[in-house]
Amino acid sequence: MIPVEFRGFAWRHAGRRAQAVTGVDLRVEPGERVLLLGPSGSGKSTLLAALAGLLTEDSGEQDGDVLIDGKPAAEQQDRVGILFQDPETQLVMARSGDDVAFGLENQAVPRDRIWPRVREALAAVGFPYGVDRPTHALSGGEQQRLALAGVLARRPDLILLDEPTANLDPEGARDVRAALRTALADTEATLIVVEHRVAEILDLVDRVIALGPGGTLLADGPAEAVLAEHGDHLAAQGVWVPGVPLPTRPALAAGDVALHGESLTLLHPGTDHPALDDVSFQLRQGELLAVTGPNGSGKSTLALLAGGLAKPTRGRSTVPGETRPLHRLPARRLATRIGSVFQDPEHQFVTATVQDELAFGPRQAGWPKDRIDARVSELLERLRLAPLANANPHTLSGGEARRLSVAGALAAAPGVLLLDEPTFGQDRRTWGELVDLTADIRDEGTALLAVTHDRDFAAALAGRELVLNAGRIAEERRR
């Protein structure tokens, strides 16, 4: 139980002109459980990194003080534990127990005391396997629980959680929240958590601090009071405030069949369970088909095969007007028939500026120059990317990068667009933008297939839903 204090704290990342946060004055009392809210760019992660002692002198410029129990945070690292959002890049060792032990070795805990503490921490997070379980064989939710055990084993007096469930599927997120609930009940540590999805985490905290751009204080107080008073404003800023209704955009009438998947099957060599097993579907112009199901059910495989990006073991995916199945088309022709948008937008960027990115598909397809120019300016306007026309795609914010990857896939005017987890990890404002953008594309007559865990996204847009389980269609729902 230790107090935390920011006194006139400001931080400028090396190489940036503007400060990430300016003049932050905050005090968190010993044992308090605080939810830190704010839109992207409000510096929440910077504040957590400062508390974790990760803002070193060579990584930027600091003003003011960050005090933990009255001493500078850099000297208190041993008393602080932080859980990040990406489980893959938090695990160090090949075996689960070794990974929890890693933090204890660094604390110079004697060997005979390490292993009891490892087992205790694994039990506290409900880790379902033994200490020898290979870390690469764990699901995302299990990896994140293991990372949490690694934090708890060090018995920190201050626990920091930086969007601990943002990178997980719904089941994994639920398990991690359950683990947090039991683990936090057993400790008196002060807690500061950053999370966009407020509803799920509200019962873990007793105080909410809402930040605006640059770390300015918007609101501070008990959770209910803050959300009741500032809920609408926070929702507009990108926070997922419970109770604020979400928009829905029902579809107009669907048109002709635009994509036809026939018995799509993929069996990876050396395995006996197909990743996708005999899945057939039809997709019509002007409709959005949501593909849902647990992790590993074959959703992403379906998107790859339907989009002609991988060769099916059996079956085919076709569009009207092409005799060959999509996986046999040359890439430059494929891009004029069907667009695919991946979860990580950066994988799809192939040029150095936003406008080249939009011109790329049409150029590959051999369009004349004036038609390309007209298409690029149209897309820049529609997707509000015009001010960024000459920016490097890799420097865009999450929401902008997402919009650009959709625009790039649409550039060569394909009649079909496939989206893989389009809303993954987005704040509420970007989410709303994506729903509107997707609805507009759909209502212009494009056929859309969206692989998604996001129930709200499917509810807002989908006319039909295909539920996959273990590579097969478990259910088809009409909305």
């Binding site: 990194a49 974790a52 990760l54 690292q77 041993d78 602080v80 534990g81 932080i82 990040f84 990406d86 893959e88 890049t89 938090q90 695990l91 160090v92 060792m93 090949a94 075996r95 070794d98 032990a101 890693f102 933090g103 204890l104 070795e105 660094n106 604390q107 110079a108 805990v109 060997r111 390490i114 292993w115 490892v118 870390t135 690469h136 990372a147 690694g150 934090v151 790859l304 990006l309 991988a310 040359p330 890439a331 430059r332 494929l334 891009a335 004029t336 667009g339 695919s340 991946f342 990580d344 950066e346 994988h347 799809q348 192939v350 790329f360 598909g361 590959q364 397809a365 896939a409 060569a412």
Partner: protein, 265 residues
């Protein structure tokens, strides 16, 4: 494409249980002897000794043969190339096809070179196939006092390797979706390979940065001397492995010298 460096042996076998540093020392000793000796008998004896050790390594013969297949093929190519392109053909001519001649002397020299490659390769595979990377890092830190920042850093990086295989496939698919693929044009294939590699590296560096921050947040950069959760020690058996390797090397050289064929370099 999956990249795996996990050991492929029965962990209870004597060689698998030996301290990694002992195995490393033994492998280095045998390889060095083979590389120094330039006759054919010394590496042949060393190879025989290595094969005699295989039953104690816990590696299934099939798995070992698969791992060694490419290395043995490489050694065979080394023999052929050296026999054909020897500086001078001495002794009796065995094969004569127009300008192509292979003599007994050249074949013997080439075989010696091929055997040296084989010994080094087999020793390396025996060592690594029976060693868990975690144990190797522990032993390097505890026995050879290698800095933990280096050994554990390398170990953490190793854990990220399989992710890169998956990411390579994702990037390739994402690019095909954008209309970009190599097709039959070799120049375009090379350009695409380079740009995909670049995208992969950018991702890897970003990931490595996040991993380093997570490690430091768990105290990896604190000044306190670390303790070790897993103890690695040199037992009598481990010293015996090293002594045995040295004995084998000395015997091979001595036998070869006794036969009057030993030469060095």
């Amino acid at each position: 494409m999956t990249i795996s460096l996990a050991p492929v042996c029965d962990a209870r076998a004597p060689i698998a249980r030996a301290n990694p540093v002992a195995k490393l020392t033994a492998a280095v000793a045998v390889s060095t002897t083979a590389l120094i000796a330039s006759d054919w008998l010394t590496p042949l004896l060393l190879l025989a000794a290595l094969l005699a050790v295989v039953p104690f390594s816990g590696i299934r013969i099939g798995a070992l043969a698969r791992r060694l297949r490419w290395l043995w093929s490489a050694a065979l190519i080394v023999v052929v190339v050296n026999a054909v392109f020897a500086a001078e053909q001495t002794g009796r001519i065995l094969i004569a096809l127009g300008p192509l001649e292979i003599s007994t002397g050249a074949l013997l020299d080439a075989t010696a070179i091929g055997l040296r490659v084989l010994v080094a390769a087999t020793a390396g595979v025996l060592g690594f196939a029976t060693t868990d990377p975690t144990d190797l890092a522990d032993a390097l830190t505890q026995q050879l006092r290698a800095p933990a920042r280096f050994t554990l850093g390398a170990l953490a990086a190793l854990r990220l390797l399989p992710l890169m295989g998956a990411e390579w496939r994702q990037i390739t698919s994402a690019r095909r979706a954008r209309g970009l693929e190599g097709g039959w044009n070799p120049a375009r294939r090379v350009r695409l390979f380079v740009s995909t590699m670049f995208a992969l590296l950018v991702g890897a560096i970003r990931r490595a940065g996040r991993l380093a921050a997570a490690m430091d947040a768990r105290g990896f950069d604190s000044e306190i001397p670390r303790t070790y959760a897993r103890e690695q020690r040199m037992y009598a058996a481990d010293w015996a492995v090293i002594a045995g390797a040295l004995l084998v090397c000395a015997t091979a050289v001595a036998v070869s010298a006794a036969y009057g064929v030993f030469t060095a370099f």
